[in-house]
């Protein structure tokens, strides 16, 4: 046979088509050397399968989607409200917005006084008022951002705890199902063994009876 050792490996490793398998089987019927070679290959293959498998030292598991991969909408809001640099930027933007809105609402006017020019912001634009408005706007913006961050963190924690509980429950349920199947299999096995045992006892009894009968005769 052409290239016999490789064909025999292919035969052993189930890599041949139906026609080739038949050809090899025909060859093996007539060739002692072929059968001996196949037996050697079979022994090598069987020996290789004795390589022990190791347990993975640490199980691999992934956490749930909503935490790692939020939807685009969630990603936008979380990004806009959650991160520290973005938090500072949003607070600053809010302050600027209040400043410009306030400036526009109070209509600044430039007027000439006796000893120079003066800038006034409408009737209520005293310097003290403006500073007070700044302070209030900053406090309001930072407080709102803090509240949103706390709210987001609480939602994240709640989500994580819920997922952990669900995962553990699912694992417990899976183990229980497997245990039930094992118990069922064990029960079937036990019944089979009992039935065999009974049969065996009957056979022994019959043999005993037969031997006693023979002895009596």
């Amino acid at each position: 046979m052409r290239d016999a050792p490789h064909v025999l490996w292919d035969y052993l490793l189930d890599e041949l088509g139906p026609t080739e398998r038949v050809e090899v089987e025909e060859y093996l019927k007539t060739s002692d050397a072929g059968r001996a070679e196949l037996e050697r290959l079979r022994l090598t293959h069987a020996a290789l399968l004795h390589l022990p498998e190791e347990e993975i030292p640490q199980r691999i598991a992934f956490v749930s989607d909503p935490i790692l991969e939020p939807s685009p909408r969630q990603r936008f809001w979380r990004g806009a409200l959650g991160g520290s640099p973005l938090l500072a930027m949003s607070a600053a933007a809010a302050v600027m917005l209040v400043f410009f809105a306030g400036a526009w609402a109070t209509k600044p006017t430039l007027a000439r006084t006796g000893d120079g020019w003066s800038l006034t912001f409408g009737a209520s634009a005293a310097a003290g008022d403006l500073e007070e408005k700044f302070r209030a706007a900053i406090i309001k913006a930072v407080t709102a951002a803090d509240a949103r961050q706390l709210e987001a963190a609480a939602a994240l924690n709640a989500s994580s705890e819920r997922i952990d509980r669900e995962w553990v429950s699912a694992q417990i349920a899976a183990v229980r199902r497997e245990l039930a199947e094992v118990q069922e299999d064990a029960a079937i096995g036990y019944e089979l063994v009992n039935a065999k045992h009974e049969t065996f006892k009957r056979q022994v009894l019959q043999i005993d009876m037969a031997s006693l009968g023979g002895f009596g005769q």
Binding site: H6, L13, L48, L49, E53, F62, V63, S64, D65
Partner: protein, 185 residues
Amino acid sequence: MIFRGIEDRDLILRARKGDVESYNMLVSRWEKRVYNYILRVVGNRDDALDLCQDTFLKAYRGIAKLNEVERFPQWLFRIAHNETTSMYRRTKPVFEDENLDQSVDPASLPRTRFEGTSFGAAELGLAIEQALERLSDEQRQVVLLKVYQGFKFDEIAKITGCPPSTVKSRLYSALNALQGALAMT
């Protein structure tokens, strides 16, 4: 006998829709096989665990693009193979690559005789480990994928990215070397 209530196919389909628990179940079914494959290739438990984690992370990211669900094992092992190869490229000295594909002379391998009762399973396992380590990386990968993972030649060709004829020649020379090393009689 315990039967699997849910087939891999169902788990893959659920994982593709973003069901992480289904993916975790899939991982629990395949992690030992993938870990052992990588471990035998790289020969280091820490690296093997890292690469195994990377493999499953990449698989998770890419599972939505897996069109043929039935080809999940080949696809997963291709990722594992690529991860392993990438690590080799990062860490192995270049001059070693020149010898990657050369066949191993059986005479250069330690000879170990085992015949039934005189050779225990643990000793046999150790002898096989040593014989495998003496193969080139490519030969060892092919042996692992064929003998221990049961892939077909054309599947191994896709996993390793080389022609089936190359896979066959690597396997035959590796098996020849292993047969010589184990001194079958």
